[in-house]
């Protein structure tokens, strides 16, 4: 506490900025941890349910059970596009049939791609703040330290004494800014790398699910 109170105005400001970075970084880490954990868990459960259930409308009715999985959004979009195409065919007096020649599969593929993109965007939200904290917090802390040491040396010059008792407290107060900068940056970098890795797995799962969905649609509906 005395180290913080003994610092100058600029160093105090730097420490407050770093505190803000640290608080928000940890909030994002908690938030993302919960989000990714739920997404992983419910994706696994959704895939089990998807392969066990033969009918799309039955799956569609149970989507709320897996709401946090990104795969449900993909299924929702794909199924929505499928129903639209089916309705269009029914209007043309060929109920339950649509042809690839009319671009039906392409429409569903585009809908799945759009859903994948929007889910990636949602899952990657706030991660840039972690990256920013990880890369800038040490420099901000370093700035505070440099400023603190400058002030300490100025004080030494004014008093005319350079004993350890005079020099050491000023440098100790200045170094705390670097320490806090590292304390803010290290968890942010670790969290960023961890969540990037988890997101890569989720994106791969989404791509795989899109392919599977298109295959099923192609096998079941096309060419009837």
């Amino acid at each position: 506490m005395s180290l913080f109170l003994g610092t100058g105005l600029v160093v105090k400001l730097v420490l407050l900025i770093l505190l803000y970075f640290s608080v928000v970084s940890w909030a994002i880490i908690f938030y993302k941890f919960r989000q990714v954990h739920r997404a992983n868990r419910e994706s696994e459960r959704f895939m089990d349910f998807f392969w066990k259930t033969k009918r799309f409308d039955a799956i569609n009715a149970q989507l709320d059970r897996f709401a946090n999985s990104p795969l449900t959004v993909l299924f929702n979009e794909g199924y929505g596009e499928l129903t639209k195409l089916a309705a269009k065919r029914e209007e043309k007096e060929e109920p339950g049939v649509f042809s690839t020649e009319l671009g039906g599969i392409d429409n569903i593929a585009r809908a799945l791609r759009r859903a994948t993109t929007s889910e990636i965007t949602r899952l990657e939200k706030y991660l840039t703040f972690l990256a920013t904290t990880g890369s800038t917090a040490p420099f901000i802390g370093l700035f505070g330290t440099v400023w603190g040491i400058m002030t300490a040396f100025k004080g030494i010059g004014e008093t005319g004494s350079a004993s350890l008792a005079v020099v050491a407290p000023g440098i100790a107060e200045a170094l705390i800014a670097t320490a806090i900068g590292l304390v803010a940056a290290i968890p942010a970098v670790m969290g960023y790398n961890h969540f990037q890795n988890k997101l890569r797995v989720l994106i791969a799962e989404m791509d795989s699910f899109s392919t599977e969905f298109l295959n099923i649609v192609h096998r079941t509906f096309a060419g009837k």
């Binding site: 608080v23 928000v24 909030a27 994002i28 908690f30 938030y31």
Partner: protein
Amino acid sequence: MSRPVKPQRENGSLGAMVCYSAVVHLAIWFFLLQVSLSTHFKEAPVYYVDLLNLPVASPQAGRPDVAPGATSSSPAPPPPTPPQPRGMTLPAKAPARPTAATPARQTDPAETAREFEERIARLEQEAAARHQEAALAALRKRADGKGPAGIPGAAGTEAGSDYASYVRSRLEDAFRREDAFRTDPGKVVIVRLTIDRTGRIVNQRYEQRSNDRLFDDAVARAIARAEREFRRPPGGGQFEHGFVFRPQGVGKK
């Protein structure tokens, strides 16, 4: 085909997480504060021991049987050296040492590395045993009370020094922290301190001031700081002595 149902997500907001994070930071802050407070150790007291008169039976005790001003407590002077002859003489040749004694010390060229190591180990053991014996003998001597007791001029209660030196050293330590006022070596402040039997300063009389308010204030602060660590004067009476403060340090008057 049924209409697609949009799944409803229930993700907690980031604001709640920020509040949670702030609480965690506060908790860590208070924890670190507690740890830093609990690990704040007390500075150990400094004892001053007269190295010239060591070893003593009990450096803390001094010599209570001898009055502080007694001169008989000073150590006996060394015996006078016999007068050297004035005339120039040639240095006597040292008798030739028998050569037969040296080969025992020399290393046998045929000695193996193992024998050499064993010999070194044996020598080390002998040296350690000698040191141990000497230390035990010294301890026994001290336990019997036969060792030199006390310090010349000691008051009987302080660690190897008279009380004025003790006070001076405490003042020196306290004054050393006033580095900011050591620029001009010509400043002098002379203070006569009166310390009561409880170790408190009851009177401080400035016999000379430096005409520099900052330096005078530094001296006053050093005295006030040093007073917290003063012990009781020996003999249970009052103590009075003058001290000279210069930017270079503190001396006795």
